[in-house]
């Protein structure tokens, strides 16, 4: 056997190297194992309350789990690095994937007047045979009723137009902040984030004061003599756009700012030096280099805007058809959970697929 300089990496030697913690760990494993068994069976020497026993059970189970993972990974010779990622993975699993699966399962059920208001997934038939009750009827229903298709299209339209306006408004602001000297830059950034410190609901309500028939805007314009008749702004799509752009503007500005602040002045000077006017410099250098910021900002506005419920409910009119509202009506007015679940799942697919496609395009570009 080769006992050269690589002896330390030799599996035989590695096994011989004794870990002083191993006996302690074994002992702890035994102790907590017994503790858990006793706590779980209620067979504790001292008489304790149910709460203490429960706490003890949970605590010993957690410690036991950690020790077991240690033991198993050691035996199998696995690296424990994946444990670091295991925590967020577990989080995502419990709070995102599991609810999604529940939603998916409900979308396959039938509505029932019961509690919960949908049919069970399986049932024992009269003959005692297992029946699985699942159908795609709810999805077929979505396709057949024009209301849903229109709601989806209208949501995408409203979110898309709002995103474009948020970009048009947010880009100059982000650019200005990124180009500002340091003390002013921090103040401006703070101002962008400042609205988050008041309630979102209140801020949308405040817009009613501006937009309504005898609101601030109409009063000022009438007083200035620009208009004779008050403009109708409330309960229109226009008000919804205003609300969405206003609310989500910081989500556009912040990623754009983060991108633009990295822009090297020398690149702009180089473009100018080579004969590009400021406009051409912007179009050929600044804009292409800020594309990742534009995409990130647009995603952060577009995605929540699609499912927006509060803003169209407060500012929009009866014609403003958005999927968030349809969802609300299905769940709470019609109490048709299966159709509501199907609506939600279709929306998720509609939003997620473009993002995945976009990311794969970006990855392909980055690897080139």
């Amino acid at each position: 056997m080769d006992t050269g300089v690589f002896a330390g990496a030799d599996p035989m030697t590695a096994q011989v190297t004794a870990d002083p913690w191993v006996p302690i760990r074994r002992l702890a494993l035994l102790t907590f194992g017994l503790l858990w068994v006793f706590a779980a069976t209620g067979f504790l020497v001292i008489d304790v309350s149910a709460q203490v026993a429960g706490t003890l059970k949970l605590l010993s189970a957690s410690v036991l789990l950690i020790l077991l993972v240690n033991e198993v990974t050691d035996r199998l010779g696995w690296s424990r690095r994946w444990l670091v990622i295991a925590v967020p993975m577990l989080w995502l699993l419990v709070f995102f994937l599991v609810p999604f699966i529940v939603l998916g399962r409900i979308s396959l059920a039938e509505p029932m007047i019961a509690r919960p208001p949908y049919s069970p997934l399986w049932d024992w038939g009269r003959d005692g045979a297992l029946q699985i009750i699942a159908s795609l009827d709810n999805f077929r229903f979505l396709l057949s009723d024009a209301l849903y298709r229109n709601a989806y299209l209208s949501s995408i339209k409203v979110a898309g137009i709002s995103t474009v306006f948020a970009l048009l408004a947010g880009y100059p602001i982000a650019y200005y902040i990124a180009r500002s000297p340091e003390p002013r830059r921090s103040v401006l950034l703070l101002l962008v984030i400042l609205p988050f410190w008041t309630s979102f609901l209140l801020r949308v309500y405040a817009w009613i004061g501006f937009l309504r028939r005898d609101g601030v805007i109409n009063n000022v314009l009438t007083w200035a003599g620009v208009i004779d008749e008050p403009l109708v702004m409330m309960q229109t799509d226009f008000a919804v756009y205003i609300g969405i752009v206003y609310t989500y503007l910081p989500f556009m500005i912040l990623p754009l700012y983060a991108n633009l602040v990295k822009l090297d002045d020398a690149l702009l000077e180089a473009a100018g030096d080579l004969g590009a006017s400021p406009t051409v410099t912007f179009l050929t250098v600044t804009l292409p280099l800020s594309m990742p910021g534009i995409i990130a900002g647009s995603m952060l506005v577009f995605i929540p805007a699609i499912g927006e419920y509060v803003i169209p409910a407060l500012l929009g009119g009866p014609d403003t058809l958005m999927i968030g509202r349809v969802l609300w009506d299905e769940f709470f007015s019609s109490r048709d959970w299966p159709v509501a679940s199907a609506v939600a799942i279709v929306m998720l697919v509609l939003v997620v697929l473009p993002i995945m496609w976009l990311q794969s395009v970006q990855n392909r570009e980055a690897s080139q």
Binding site: D264, A266, E269, G272, D273, L274, G275, S277, L289
Partner: protein
Amino acid sequence: MSLTEIAANTRPWLDPDAQPFISIRGITKRFGDVAAVDDVSLDIFQGELFCLLGGSGCGKSTLLRMLAGFETPTEGQILIDGQDMARVPADKRPTNMMFQSYALFPHMSVEKNVAYGLLREGKSKAEAMQRAAEMLRMVKLESFAKRKPHQLSGGQRQRVALARALIKQPKLLLLDEPLGALDKKLREETQFELIRIQESLGVTFIVVTHDQDEAMTLATRIGVMSDGVIQQVGEPREIYETPKSRFVADFIGSVNLFDGRVGPAAADFMRVDTDDLGPVSVPPVRGLTQGQQVWLALRPERITLTRERPANARDGVMGMVEDVGYVGHLSSYRVRLPGGRVISVTQSNRLRDEDPITWDEEVFISWTPASLRVLTQ
């Protein structure tokens, strides 16, 4: 054509009637209260490779950026080819700049970077790409045309930046620390490459650098700057051999400076009394009065170290070798004078098996009077 005529053609600054190509007249740039460039006047001629040399913060980059049009002078005038640049924005100037960071556009391929300037001129895409290919051939990067800048090495990026800056055939190319980011060996190779390109295209270059070796190798003339002021303008040899001030003498190469007072003068020499060297003879300098404070500059390589006093030595002092540094082609010595002052001396190692002077040896330090330079400021 006589010899002096040829000399005047390649060295137009010697000809009082020659028209300067770039005329900088009383340029001042203030940032707040600080004058980064303070009343600088300078004439640069067609086809020159002029180096602005100075330490960081001396104002050399600010001067360059004013020529490029990125900074507006507070006072003064810049003429390029007779045209006043005051109202001409950077994108309309007949100059191009090579940036210290190269400032290559990261989202464009190498050839698109190079072609950028021509496309802005309104040239067709085909023509611009063809010219870009020619430029890339000149800097020997034709096989890298489709790469992105981040896929190139530092030296390759430097050449892309040069090609991009030259494609519009500017009358004047401004180079900000063009070789600053390269390692020593590459820098030396690139220096001569830069000279070759400059001579073959006949473009006027103004190079900003803090590296005196680079300035000495590249330049037709050097302008030494400090504190926003040009201290001296001259050919490399002139700057090195006949510095006008202690600052220039000390900045270019290394030098030993000695305080002294002017003593009696004879026809072929003048005495200067110094504290460290005693009375020494120097070539006569006009316009000095007896007893006036002067400084003597003596370059380390102009000093001879011997164990015995040489027979022909006119002046000299004894000293003790404190330190020896063997560099290879030369050895540098630190020698303590009787008065306690330590001077630096270099001796070239010409013979392989000579018995070198080493630590703690008593040596005789001598020089010729002509190697002393008398400075009055």
